[in-house]
Amino acid sequence: MPIIEIQNLSKYYGKARGIIDVSLNVEEGEIFGFIGPNGAGKSTTIRLLLSLIYPTSGSARVFGKDVIKHGPEIRQEIGYLPSEVFYYDKMKVIDLLNYSASFYNKDCSQRIKELAKIMELDLKRRIDDLSYGNKKKVGIVQGLLHSPKLIILDEPTAGLDPLMQQRFFDMIQNENEKGATVFFSSHILSEVQRLCNRVAIIREGKIVTLEDIKTLQKNNYKKIAVVGDGLDQARFQINGVTNLHQVDGEIKFFFKGDINQVVQLVSAQPVSDILIEEPTLEEIFMHYYA
């Protein structure tokens, strides 16, 4: 049984588009990446799953139960980390976490201590004295303290330093190995590539593609820039090269295929610098899915 089943789900805010006809399943035990640029509808989808908002049409089920009819029951086993974390300012961290724990039918005090230790979170401080990154940590502990079966992450790493990001990813992987299913929304491709088994890409409210992360990577373009005097643009006109253009002594293009071809090409030219990088999501959308 899939953990999340979304069927033809649409949401309009008045006339404004939220998501249109989204369908996808998330299987038990997988880390599912949900990726798209800002405003694509990622948060809308997540908020529909949590019944924070109600769909215009379509339906969603979590653990096989309708999210609207069985909301409270389902949320007993969901841990949610929102993209922007806001908590009752005047509370201390530990008070907020205890309040959060009081909603679940289990004792979470041990887990709170463990998680706070891993994330180096000071439990005695007041929430309004915390930096953005530290508030985010409160959000992480708050979302995981009841060892949920489904973890929903909405752009979780923003505001965390690289060390904490790493710890956070380890923690998520750990939870996943213990059996938790993870729904991971992000606009950073590399993050998703690193963690996820499958990925859905959403753009302007619609699912553009849903595939295995390996397939996506195989199909992925590289963004290449070559700098040098007297470079001949025509020589780069090979199979797999798109969007080729030259500005002064610099040639830029996208390449998909065997990277050795490019390496050979470049080595035969008087090159002073070369840059090969992953295209940004927006670039993938523009040149790959357009």
């Binding site: 924070l52 409270p72 949320r75 806001f86 908590y87 005047k90 959060s100 909603f103």
Partner: protein
């Protein structure tokens, strides 16, 4: 239960502040009463010189300041504004504060239904209002007894006046709540609660000074007029029923609206 306690904890400071202010105002007025009580006849004469429209606007016509309850009714017209403001504040911010301060995502993602959240929050607000009432009731009796001296007054009528406080609070609690839920995005709490309370008060004032009965049905300040109760010894029952209906409807509507509400994002 956890939500109720948490809400009450967050309101505690506000409850104490409002209660102290109400008690303070009462003692202030009645300490004045005790010092000038012998010249009250004169004060009545001064008041008689004001234009009747003005006196009517504030509900100070047909009021005998030289009697204990007459003076109490005068004091109570200020207390009404205070407790209404408190109630409108609680009602309007009850769920909207979570959306303004963006904590709604935290609370609503917890395994608890919306009706239960609203009930817990309403009960916490009601507890707060009742605490203020208890302070109001006890200090009223205490102040009246302390400062009345050997002047006679009817404590049953005083009790009747005091009971109306709770209905007035319910009116503004329910009204504020339903307004906040009718709006998609909620502007400042102070603006709306001040606006609605003084709006209703001015409406009552207009109605009285122009002798226009129609307004009387709209504004709760006309449903629970202390002077009237003191003068007649009775509630204004038909008008009270209007307020009670408004309270019931606004509460039911709030539950329906909150169940269906799309929580706005950042």
């Amino acid at each position: 239960m956890n939500i109720y306690l948490q809400e009450l904890k967050m309101k505690l400071r506000s409850i104490i502040t409002w209660s102290i202010s109400v008690a303070g105002l009462l003692f202030l007025f009645f300490s004045i009463f005790s010092t000038i009580v012998d010249e009250m006849e004169m004060l009545n004469a001064v008041m008689a010189n004001y234009p009747p429209e003005l006196l009517a606007a504030f509900g100070w016509d047909n009021m005998d300041l030289s009697t204990v309850l007459g003076f109490y009714a005068f004091t109570f017209s200020f207390i009404q504004i205070m407790i209404s403001l408190q109630a409108a504040n609680y009602g309007y911010s009850l769920v909207s504060i979570e959306e303004r301060e963006l904590t709604a995502d935290f609370l609503l993602a917890k395994p608890v239904g919306r009706a239960k959240i609203l009930t817990n929050k309403l009960l916490a607000a009601l507890t707060g209002l009742l605490i203020t009432d208890l302070v109001l009731w006890s200090t009223s009796f205490f102040a009246v007894r302390t400062y009345a001296g050997d002047r006679a007054y009817n404590s049953e009528i005083l009790a009747k006046v005091l009971i109306t406080a709770f209905f007035l609070q319910l009116f503004f609690l329910g009204g504020g709540l339903v307004i906040s839920l009718l709006l998609k995005k909620v502007p400042s709490v102070i603006a709306i609660s001040l606006g609605s309370v003084f709006g209703m008060y001015i409406l009552a004032a207009f109605g009285s000074s122009f002798n226009e009965d129609k307004f009387d049905y709209l504004t709760p300040f006309k449903h629970f007029e202390a002077t009237k109760i003191v003068n007649t010894g009775e509630f204004d029952q038909p008008k009270m029923v209007i307020s009670i209906l408004v309270i019931i409807i606004s509460m039911i509507a709030s539950y329906v609206l909150y169940q269906r509400r799309n929580i706005p994002t950042v």
